[in-house]
Symmetry: C2
Subunit: 336 residues, 2 copies
Amino acid sequence: MRQLVVGRQSGGHALLVVHGGAGPIRAELVDSIALAERRAGLRQALAAGWRVLKGGGAALDAVQEAVRALEEHPRYNAGRGSVLDALGVVEMDASLMCGRDRRAGALCGARRLRNPILGARRLLEDGRVFVQARAVESWLEEQGLELKEPGWFITEERVRQLEAARGTGRSLLDHAGEALDGGGDDGGTVGAAARDSHGHLAAGTSTGGMTNKAPGRIGDSPVIGAGTWADDTSVALSATGEGEAFIRSVFAHEVEARVRLAGEDLAQAVGAALARVVDCQGEGGCVALGQKEGVLAWNTQGMYRGWVDASTGRWGLAIFDEEELEGGTVDQLDEP
Amino acid sequence: MRQLVVGRQSGGHALLVVHGGAGPIRAELVDSIALAERRAGLRQALAAGWRVLKGGGAALDAVQEAVRALEEHPRYNAGRGSVLDALGVVEMDASLMCGRDRRAGALCGARRLRNPILGARRLLEDGRVFVQARAVESWLEEQGLELKEPGWFITEERVRQLEAARGTGRSLLDHAGEALDGGGDDGGTVGAAARDSHGHLAAGTSTGGMTNKAPGRIGDSPVIGAGTWADDTSVALSATGEGEAFIRSVFAHEVEARVRLAGEDLAQAVGAALARVVDCQGEGGCVALGQKEGVLAWNTQGMYRGWVDASTGRWGLAIFDEEELEGGTVDQLDEP
């Protein structure tokens, strides 16, 4: 397992961590254009979240905007550009949680909702917590959210990946494409966790799931406690990886419980919880933060990840094992 | 909160605890015929689970059979006799977890599956963990499970309850009917936890959700870590109550984490976790057991509940605040 700790001195300051999926990403196999576009996507997500936080905005809004930026990016497996299931259909899951009061909203199986994270937000506000999305997409449209035709979500890259996956007869982790065709790394599940200048925490996750997944499959992303958790008194976290193993480990809540009940520090808790995922033959990673530092961790070959630390005024992003692939001052985040 | 501790001396022996929902059950308002039938249902569930355990069978099978018996009972809110959503449709959720290896199977939104708990079992065996049931009901039929037409699940009692709920414009907890019409207590979510003579644990939960619920709503019952959990090293648990609050408290895993990480005893852990549900304005209860005792707990006016303890050779059941409404030796469980 690899871990990066950020914002050690950031207590009381805003902190944002984002991910775009963990998986067997290998530099030599990932298309360089895709990689550059995905780096730009991470930077856009950091900028979107930071725009909220720098003005004293809420962690919940920052997480929502960071996740929405990655949903809008066609190279990530959320919103448009989501992977296809075994029937060639996009079905998306998302969740969002507010650390102030543990309000949460989550949905599974969305087919028309342009931004599933906005649907999760609406459900959170409405106290509905968890729904099968197809039953509420029309209602969400009445609430002002945008729907698109199912075909709008499908990109050529995802069609090729489904064909490759069908050739093997296996369902695939959302980021394992390159293991098949030598070049198709496809970006993964997206998520974010934030602390605002008032000390409130939030986290959210959005995904299209796994390429060639069985129809109806629900991963950990919309499961509060597995893929997403936020509580001001302890931890906000968004996970990515093999959802079945993360559900069976109640991963996000395991991390939180270790911090709250066992007094472990965040890095230690994340490591121990990831070990329980491995017990279930799973792998993946997460971004997490508490009232002090943030932790970005993965036990795969890489994880698309980024962070903004208001205490130092700096941001960074990385994909493979490097500490920082790209970074700078927060002022630069608003530059095109 | 009320708690009953059973099987204090039962370590190494089989132990089974079942519930049929917690809620504002009041003796003076519950129809006496319904109450008698529901008592018979609890006894049937205990007998079904005990038949497995007494022969040295697996906890997983005992839980499945106890839950199935309550699904088959039209007076409980699971399988036939499930409550109706706002559109007058039955949509059922269920989950099952094996403590040996933390394998789990869960489904939401089943409309035709006669026994959702058997669907959860099949998913568990197949490593599929969590699915939207409508996508797999035909596949489950191919696997030998029985489907019924949606109308088969609907009882007259549930139609009346939906009409009463529509009159108030509110969605209702699955067992709160009597608060409206003075006599319609309708039996709740069902679940069980078991320890077999080999020391393995399992738990499962099945429900039709809430009367007049919004279409697509998913409660805690199919959420591993919220409504159901099992791990041989710590706790097996099935919950019942206001699902939104149980999800936001990751209730089942909270209990387990308190036992495993904080060294609390089971009764203490259940009490502390229920307090976190109350923080989310929720109420309900659970049945739980570890390698020693079992705990049945609720912070409502009552909970349909029963237990079988191989160490004493006795079973019991209760509904309101009494310690034991009915009980006897295990031999009697097989009597008609």
